[in-house]
Symmetry: D2
Subunit: 283 residues, 4 copies
């Protein structure tokens, strides 16, 4: 049965939860998941609520309109989605294909409920993978002068394919601010370090030279500032002096796959709320 | 400001959250934490809700009575508590004192908001600690024949001290079923293994002989079945062939302290709901 | 340049390391890795030593013969191998193909230096994978009565393919003792739990019903006793009451892939010594 | 029985291990632990070797002199120590006393084989602890102008007490380069973050504001560059949006104690070799 999912943030005050849950109850909805959080520093209220539409008395297309009354009363920022919507995901990748393959595998296995209609790369390496799985592939090499032009073509393709989520699966190019601003909170990147340590290029080499005893991977939303967007998830693995640089890469790639796919799954399930460069994760 | 905390479980149906949050809102309460969970197998609804009593229109002593109407309607099992109640904790210990010391240290540091009026042991070793911190100490040696008799004295002391939570901080005696039944969901034990592996005596030796590569610690509520009560928390640490039995003990004790103190903290904050030999942890 | 690798175990006494390292030095070998361990309980000495054959004065085929003098003197159990030997690996699998795919992917990516000439399954599901990668596939359904007969065919195929290591990548059949005894310390299994907890069938369901807060995966050598062979590696991941059984499976499968592939890699690099149902891991 | 422990580093070449182990064997020593590592980038050989002096034919006081012949031949940097030497440790601390208490507790419990004759602080808070355990306490307040002068007094006290290892257990002052250079590889610090992330002051606040999902702690040798010395050990713990700053502090302090005490233990057991701003850990 289809579920409705509501993500809400607003200034905290009395009565928000009662108003939202009453709205659902009065129209005969059955809540299957509800979680809320209050950020005390900024006095902000966050909520994720999911209810079954079986017997719900408002038609799907009218729920948003009717909810607007409550939203207005509490100055809510909100997003309504439905569990039977299948988000369309575009994957950007450069030459390391392990995350790309992992995402496709998980999508095929039903772990990621989405469609993957488009792969974009600044290199030709991923074309074979795209072909194998029948996914449209755009090779978009980036030079010092053509980035803006290429991005326009990319945006055109993303719109054609009706893409709702962009995943950078080890894509080693920086978007322009224009591009990023068009897809706010809709671009997820995997950075192969424990951010904020080792931002920028070649984090495994940086970690190796620093002699750290643990390496990490970080998934985050992309903002205008490189490697500084709101962090969605992180994980770490222990290394030792016996690990050569190639061992860091090997161990790190296992982390990357897990950390990136978790973040994509959370985004598809509408379990992430981003605020003031942090995230609330309703898991 | 004092908060009220309500723990609820009941058969799932429409309107529970709306009813509870309306009750709070109508009497001018401000929810500061709310989390719920539905166990789909048993169709059971679980909720923890915490609200500020600043401006709340029902007096503390009357809240339970007035809530009873809602509780009855939904066949709720429920528990109401207040953040300004300071639970009185008794600690049982045998000869390993690291968990006892750790709990006292954390209580003194304000990490565990509780009082510790009573330490009970089947050995004399903890007396010095009790004396140092001005805590009443009962030495209750257990023989094959005196357990029931000693437990009666223990129950008397627990009642005298108005104890609300019993913590077994490496207490190596088994209570009678009578004793356990008197303190259902009010006795927390630390078992020094990753349960259900290595239940029973000497789990570090068992782990050493088995050659596992990771050891663990488990906090759980005590039930009639030894080491089988609902698990509250677990944690693990990596070991290798280089670790002798004494290294397992050393590394394990660090885990024990963290795992036990986390469980006690959760219990004091009323963040644990136990059902059908499992727990819901509202953290 | 080719390296020689020597794995040694023997009763501990003075002079073992000196004898072995002298043997290498006198014949102009350069040690690139050496590690040793002494099990104090059994007074057993374990060593892994690896040296470059560049300039080594004994021919590869003669090293073993000449080392025999030292080995005899110290009653060593020993195994000599060479880094340019490419172990041939057979993978047994039932219906869950994630570990199989992961092993093939890592072998193709150069993380596992081996050949994979043979996949054997009691189900037809893996045939497509085998075909895709050009690997010989044997479907060997097991009934109550044909196990011994099928194993004979399997042994024939394993011998034909000159298989040096058997990997059970979620193969849900139990071998006869005869089969196991033919491949002692040469069959690696992944068990999808934190052994010794949840041995046997359906460990995720067992873990779910027990309500544990952490699940695990265990790689081990297969012996006559089900799920009781020497443990090679383990890893764990945190779960909560929010995780349904299918979430345990999903999170567990990520562990299985990492834990199994690490064990296979260690075996291929001759970094595992098994003794008295434990392992020494030279990593 | 007393053991000798030799830590060696030198340019890699053939015959080092043979020379060292022969030296031990010829004089009737029994090796109980040996581990070596070769850093391929710098072609440097590292070794830790420990042997029993039972029946060893060179007197303790003469071992170093006799070993010098081998050391010279291979241009070794080396350090010889004995398991019956009890290192004298001075602890510097500011106002957070949890690490100090933890170290004393572990020393009393026999986990850290050392003496602790001296506690130095820029605040008076630790005096009670020092008094309780009968340890000399120096209160050395640091102002903008008196640092050099105070350090001279500290050095005098460290020399009086014959201190071999300095542990900064949350000591929030920066030493002069002169001070540091006098105790190279003999000052261990705990930094309450996952370095190199959040170096400098108030790392928990930095982590909180950044919104990371994992926090860490790092033990390292102190060098002239703040928080940049060779890392000895690190560990991490998961946090979420529900964790307030005080929760980060609470969870982090548990990490600090474990990570610092592990590093001190490794140092006391002569299991750390420092080179080019990294460490080799022989554990």
């Amino acid at each position: 049965m289809c579920h409705a999912i509501l993500l809400v943030s607003c200034p905290d005050q009395k009565g928000i939860t009662a108003a939202v849950t009453n709205f659902i109850y009065e129209h005969n909805g059955n809540i299957v998941h509800a979680d809320q959080h209050i950020d005390e520093q900024s006095n902000t209220f966050f909520m994720r609520i999911e209810w079954s539409l079986e017997g719900f008395k408002i038609k799907k297309k009218d729920i948003g309109g009717q909810f607007q009354a409550i939203a207005g009363q509490f100055q809510m920022t909100w997003e309504l989605s439905f569990s039977d919507q299948c988000t369309r995901v575009a994957i950007f990748v450069s030459r390391h294909l392990h995350c790309l393959l992992d995402l496709i595998y998980r999508q095929r296995a039903g772990q990621l409920v989405c469609e993957i209609p488009l792969i974009i790369s600044n290199h030709p390496d991923a074309k074979t993978v795209a072909d194998d799985f029948g996914i449209r592939f755009l090779e978009m090499p980036i030079t010092k002068t053509n980035k803006r032009e290429q991005e326009e073509k990319e945006i055109k393709a993303l719109n054609e394919e009706n893409v709702g989520l962009i995943v950078l699966a080890r894509y080693h190019q920086i978007f322009t601010e224009d591009f990023v601003s068009k897809f706010r909170n809709r671009i997820i990147n995997i950075h192969h370090s424990f951010l904020p340590a080792f931002a920028g290029t070649n984090p495994y080499l940086q970690a190796y030279e620093k002699g750290v005893k643990i390496i990490g991977a970080t998934s985050h939303y992309v903002t205008e500032k490189l490697d500084e967007g709101p962090i969605i998830g992180q994980d770490t693995v222990r290394i030792s002096h016996r690990d050569a640089l190639e061992d860091l890469v090997r161990k790190g790639e296992d982390l990357e796959k897990v950390v990136l796919s978790r973040a994509v799954r959370l985004a598809l399930q509408k379990k992430i709320l981003s605020y003031s460069n942090k995230t609330v994760i309703f898991d």
